[in-house]
Symmetry: C2
Subunit: 210 residues, 2 copies
């Protein structure tokens, strides 16, 4: 037995080799799926489900796009108590067009006519963004809620999304995404609640709804 | 019949009243659950699952926190090809401490020793942030991957998360969150893939991975 080599060195070498082989196979699979994806165009992403993180994910993509010097448009269809942080932050940037629907959550305003008017105005803004090829990313935050209550017509949304500029990305958030929207989207993620802080009795924090 | 009142006005009034009552019940339920949540402390949020939006959700929370003038710390445990946008963007801000683990995805470096060294260095940074009560939000991006490969010890993470400053929020992202981490987290969301653009043959876009 070689004094300079620990008695389990062969086993370690073997393990390292297997690790490397496994990682190489993994890389090959991923590289192949990326290579297959050869359509160079903007993506329509839908973030739905009841779990936390839908809107913040959309806002993270705004940050990413700004990091690449892109122009971004945001329309918030529901002005929640927690969205003020993002609004305060992203309004600082000239590259961001930011529009917030005037009213709060529908169950806070409790006035359907006013809700519909506010949603229609927000959708008019969204449509303008979806027609502007200078805008690389459009985030339509909580649009699914407006669709669910039929404050905005689904057909209009589908048409506007499908006829938007070729390289423009669009992110649509909110629970209960309609199937027709899922059908036309490229990527759809459902956020599922595994656990929620409210259930654990933790008070919502100023600014950071986690 | 009153000439000034459309013949279906009563039906409309009735529908509006039912709508209002439904929204009031909804508001009552939500207000109550918020009122029950009376523990004023920072939240530990875990974002896991295979779907898109985990990291971007964490970065959206960074934007939200910055909008409220908070100090933020970010550690990226896996330097992905797509994370350069966020890094370029958030490094602009003095309120953000940003640390990126030196290496790429494990299946791209294919060198376990180097991966472990890089992960250990990243975790040392994370621990410093988790001990600093001037930092209101700590994002540990893709830490779950480092845990899965056992590059970082789960016990150390649990201990550091549980003994962090009382008002500090921590967001941990990455697929395959270990059960012990889910157990200590306050809010856990699982991102599920309903559809992915790669499947539809769309090329990954510079800067915006949707």
């Amino acid at each position: 037995m070689n004094e300079n080599k620990p008695h389990n060195a062969d086993a370690i070498d073997d393990k390292e080799a297997r690790y490397k082989a496994r990682m190489q196979r993994k890389k090959a699979v991923i590289d192949e799926s990326i290579a297959r994806a050869d359509q160079d165009k903007g993506v329509c992403l839908v973030l739905t489900g009841n779990g936390k993180g839908k809107s913040s994910s959309g806002f993270g993509m705004v940050a990413r796009a700004l990091g690449h010097g892109m122009q971004v448009g945001v329309v918030q269809f529901i002005k929640g108590s927690y969205s003020t942080g993002e609004e305060a932050f992203f309004r600082r940037f000239d590259e961001v067009e930011y529009y917030v629907m005037g009213e709060g959550f529908t169950w806070e305003t409790q006035d359907k006519t006013r809700d519909i008017e506010a949603a229609s105005a927000a959708w008019a803004q969204a449509k303008t963004l979806l027609e502007n090829d200078a805008i690389s990313l459009v985030v339509l935050d909580e649009l699914n809620i407006a669709l669910k209550y039929k404050y905005v017509a689904l057909d209009d949304v589908i048409t506007a999304v499908q006829s938007r500029p070729r390289y423009q990305h669009v992110v649509i958030t909110g629970r209960g995404a309609p199937q027709a929207l899922i059908d036309v989207a490229d990527t759809v993620t459902e956020m599922q609640v595994i656990k929620h802080a409210y259930q654990a009795g933790i008070k919502a924090q100023k600014g950071v709804e986690l």
